[in-house]
């Protein structure tokens, strides 16, 4: 699937009249176009001040998201240094976005070229971010539900609150929670990556942990016991226990702080 700017917009408009296409209606601002070529778009939320959602299905490149006090979603896209196998390309990446009921979906030509996205969002935002290759996903200062997948790279979430469901194959997962939503299950899984989670002092959690070739490290807050139901899981209880959080890696270590 390819989300070329014009194509994605016109087909979306044909399908639903409700759909608001933003790269035009909400003002496209082109970055000062000297090298490295960047493109920036700002997206108005239809209900500013209320919690929104950002959805990016990225292929090659990094996604960096920072929460800030504004109400616009601002996306800057830049081509990475041209890789050895990549042919000629346009001076700037293709970039577009669609907003509908406070949900923003960002499209770029990351399937063909490595595109790094640098994004500012209002703090109250759910994120659904996905990238496959050649990049990292970094999120800071955001509150909401975070669904993050990075197949071949790390995921780092700093000062986030809400609930997170994170998965990588070959990347480390590092999360520092400022707060967690009570009653919302979470999951952190990887094949070769380490999983390093820091929870607030008084959070109640039940952690189901498993690493085949790694170790589990934790501080004294956590009591760990084998799972009684016969699986290879270890059950860790933080304070009074609570909703289940799955932490699973094959080769990596698990750190609970």
């Amino acid at each position: 699937m390819r989300y070329g700017t014009g194509l994605a917009m016109s087909s979306a408009c044909c399908k639903t009249a409700v759909c608001i296409v933003l790269s035009i209606s909400c003002g496209v601002t082109w970055g000062q176009s000297s090298p490295p070529a960047k493109k920036t778009i700002s997206i108005h939320l239809s209900q500013p001040g209320q919690s929104g959602r950002l959805r990016i299905h990225h292929y090659k490149g990094s996604i960096t998201v920072n929460g800030y006090d504004g109400s616009l979603v601002m996306v800057t896209a830049a081509y990475r240094e041209r890789g050895a196998g990549e042919g000629e390309r346009k001076p700037g990446p293709e970039l577009s976005a669609v907003e509908r009921n406070n949900e923003v979906t960002v499209y770029s030509d990351s399937e063909r070229y490595t595109v790094d996205l640098d994004i500012l969002v209002p703090r109250n935002m759910d994120l659904h971010l996905q990238t496959y290759d050649n990049g990292v996903i970094e999120v800071a200062n955001v509150q909401g539900e975070l669904e993050i997948n990075n197949t071949n790279g790390p995921v780092t979430l700093i000062n986030v609150s809400g609930a997170a469901v994170v998965s990588t194959v070959d990347g480390n997962i590092l999360v520092k929670f400022a707060g967690v939503t009570a009653g919302a299950p979470m999951a952190f899984t990887s094949i070769t990556g380490d999983i390093d989670l820091t929870f607030p002092e008084h959070v109640d959690m039940l952690l189901k942990m498993n690493t085949d070739y790694g170790d589990i490290f934790h501080d004294t807050r956590l009591t760990v016991a084998p799972d009684k139901s016969g699986t290879s899981m270890k059950i860790g209880v933080l304070n009074r226990g609570g909703t289940e959080t799955l932490i699973k890696t094959l080769n990596g270590n698990i750190y609970i702080r």
Binding site: E147, A163, S167, T189, I191, T231, L246, K248
Partner: protein
């Protein structure tokens, strides 16, 4: 019989208002008709005693009944006149007239409800009622789970999948839904949690077969790994062909490949 028409004459005879000449005539006639002097005297005493019998006077009771009826009529006629009447009595009257019919209806409805209730719940034995309640609760849980699985939020879907973990056995519908989740949920971690949940129902041959068939439908190395490890734990030999097919996949993650070959060698 003979005396009947003559009795009137007897009355006349003893009536003080009758003139003496007429009395004499009457006496002649009565004696002629067969009355004796003694009989006539007896009759006289009887008539006097009749006169002496007390005639009931229109008493208090009659008055009360009359005023009650009057009050009822005035109450009906309107509040204006009723206000001038006996207040506490009218208050009760009003209660009787306005509240009693409502109370009557209420009781009738309660009774109807009770009758219907006993009819509709057949054989309300304690045990079967508990079973039915348990069935209803699990049905509701199923509905909640199905609704949660439709949610956009992966955390909600995780909740749905782990909710099913608490059930001791899953019916065909739940198994189907979990299988579909395993094959098609967009989030890796939800699919992974589904493997975990389904692993509790592996006594069910449908679940076992479904899990085996799913091995090569999975793209995520995490789910491939979880399924292979589950097969190892179950010592499921019939999974061997599918696991071998997985090993033939050139794009298989190297770490997963190691684990899968290990599992296959143990089966």
């Amino acid at each position: 019989m003979k005396r009947d028409p003559i009795e009137a004459l007897v009355m006349d005879y003893w009536d003080d208002a009758t003139p003496p000449e007429r009395k004499r005539e009457l006496k002649q006639e009565l004696l002629a008709a067969g009355y004796t002097e003694a009989e006539l005297n007896d009759l006289k005493r009887f008539l006097i005693s009749l006169d002496d019998m007390p005639v009931p006077e229109p008493g208090e009771e009659l008055d009360r009944a009359f005023y009650r009826m009057l009050a009822e009529e005035t109450a009906k006629a309107g509040r204006k006149t009723a206000r001038n009447g006996n207040k506490p009595a009218l208050f009760w009257k009003r209660i009787e007239q306005q509240l009693m019919p409502k109370l009557g209806y209420a009781f009738a409805l309660v009774f109807l409800g009770w009758v219907l209730g006993t009819w509709v719940t057949p054989g309300a034995v304690g045990g079967s009622r508990m079973e039915r309640m348990a069935a209803e609760i699990s049905e509701m849980k199923e509905m909640v789970m199905l609704a949660q699985l439709q949610q956009d939020s992966p955390s909600e879907r995780l909740k749905a999948v782990t909710l099913a973990e608490e059930w001791t056995d899953a019916d065909a519908k739940i198994v189907t839904v979990l299988m579909r989740t395993l094959d098609s949920d967009p989030n890796v971690n939800v699919r992974l949690a589904t493997v975990e949940t389904l692993s509790r129902f592996t006594d069910n041959p449908v679940v076992r077969r479904g899990l085996i068939e799913s091995i090569n439908r999975q793209q995520s190395p995490l789910v491939q790994l979880a399924l292979a490890e589950l097969m190892g734990r179950l010592q499921e030999e019939s999974a061997k062909p599918e696991l071998n097919r997985l090993l033939e996949n050139k794009e298989l993650n190297y770490a997963v490949r190691d684990r899968v070959s290990h599992v296959v060698s143990m089966l």
